[in-house]
Symmetry: C2
Subunit: 349 residues, 2 copies
Amino acid sequence: MGVAASLTEAKPDEKAVRKEESALHALSAYLKEDMEACNRAIVARMQSPVPLIPQLGAHLVAAGGKRLRPLLTLASARLCGYQPSPEHQRHVALAACVEFIHTATLLHDDVVDESTLRRGLASANAVFGNKASVLVGDFLFARSFQLMTADGSLRVMAILSAASATIAEGEVLQMATQNDLSTPIEKYLEVIHGKTAALFAAACRVGAVVAERPEAEEQALEDYGTNLGMAFQLVDDALDYAADQQILGKTVGDDMREGKITLPVLAACRAGNEEDRAFWQRVIETGEQTDADLPHALELIARTGAIQTTLERATQYAEAAIAALSIFPESEIKTLLVETASYTVSRAH
Amino acid sequence: MGVAASLTEAKPDEKAVRKEESALHALSAYLKEDMEACNRAIVARMQSPVPLIPQLGAHLVAAGGKRLRPLLTLASARLCGYQPSPEHQRHVALAACVEFIHTATLLHDDVVDESTLRRGLASANAVFGNKASVLVGDFLFARSFQLMTADGSLRVMAILSAASATIAEGEVLQMATQNDLSTPIEKYLEVIHGKTAALFAAACRVGAVVAERPEAEEQALEDYGTNLGMAFQLVDDALDYAADQQILGKTVGDDMREGKITLPVLAACRAGNEEDRAFWQRVIETGEQTDADLPHALELIARTGAIQTTLERATQYAEAAIAALSIFPESEIKTLLVETASYTVSRAH
């Protein structure tokens, strides 16, 4: 089933979100033993003689999250036929490593964005303070490099350290575009490539590396990850102006309050009239906001079809992600990766 | 000349600081070409398509600093007889890598401590904001791992990634001891080992690794670095209650304002009477401070000999650093490393 079909079938209610969850659940279920080993590795490698580190770690583990990025590493390794031995579970250690990099960036993002909610629970900075979040983020980042060093592959290190630098560049670029409605859409796409797609791509590519597959398969998995990551972030940005807070576990309107430049805003602003543009300039560029602004923003976004514009882009990326897998023979894990891409988009419908 | 002799000779004025500077200048001068190559590598590897990153980088480079840690890597490599070729300058790339790790932690420290001054100039967070400092710190950290990956030695990666994790642990432990006068001196020493000595040790050890010297020389240089780092941080903590702001380039009393637990405070509190202890409890534990408190704190610290207590510890570490070099034959670079350890302590006299 293509993305377009799955989009048409999806209904604009909680069911769609459950559908995406079930695609991820199916992937998790298929990789159950690997994921359990990965979760054990995450808990084990978060230990430290400094008690606050595992305490904050436990808060993050309790908050759960989809563990999408480590799932991608595990799934990519299996897609490439990686056969671990009981002693050598490279894919598991590297999946944990990918999750550590992601968690470190989340901790720092929440400090930078002054967020109070993460995955429906109080964010780490809200509970433990900004200082602890910055420093434990640094610890997890360092620990991720220790995991890579233990794995011992220079190729893996090159991929993941480059992705880490690209993430930071994406975040800095996002900061530089904040409050700036003249940001070109290409620059917004560059931001989400850095902050999200680069790690998705690296997580996938690493799977092919541990399986020692040829460059073409590495590249195909990198392309899958890049496009999936772009689709994922576009949908996330759409949901910030559309989602039910209970389902999403984040506060609707957060991006607007922060003056963050995302496609729904750029599209609504470009498709709006002069009065609309004055509204967006006030709330996004000057940051002067009242309680009445969010409902009005949602109305403008609905009227201009900005969510649809955003999701169409997301659909294109999801289709490209699925196309990238074409070089692999059919298999259950391939089907699950295809469905993950489809449902990444359909969750917003 | 031993540390004790240099301490006796040193005078309690600006001259002593200039003397330490001249020990470092002598080391820098001896390693002039290496340091110039290292500075070029630092500037080159701070480049990014995201303009804010080299901008903030230029601010840091302009602020200067002693570049003590990269000097240690370069000096250690030369002490071990490392012979670079024009194409392979491993010691230079790794010295830049060490400075990137250090700079990343400085950027994050200044955010965590809300500092406004660094090396006598406005700190990066004061100029560019906390968000930029957190994110550019992450970028430099990632870039340091790219430099290690390019070097390609798993031993180097293991040493520097472990040091990075230890730094973060030290910083978290420091945060956990903040405002707590019951902190044992051993825990304070653990904090400064993590936040300072671990990277000094790693910077030195890496020099022996690139020269492919036996374990005993790696260990000797690690011991030199650890003890030098402990001495350096003890002196730094003493200067926070003693230095002329113009000379030090930092604000006297910063540590007290932050309720930071350092040896001068622990020693003054332990050696003081009941009234003194009540004073320290108010200013350090409750954080209630007035303008009159810093002069009174300096008086109590002087009366109880707390600076002297701190510097005696520093002297012991400096002597241990010098002793660790005994396995190396006499050479100009060895003499310079010995003098660096001596003057690290004498700068406070």
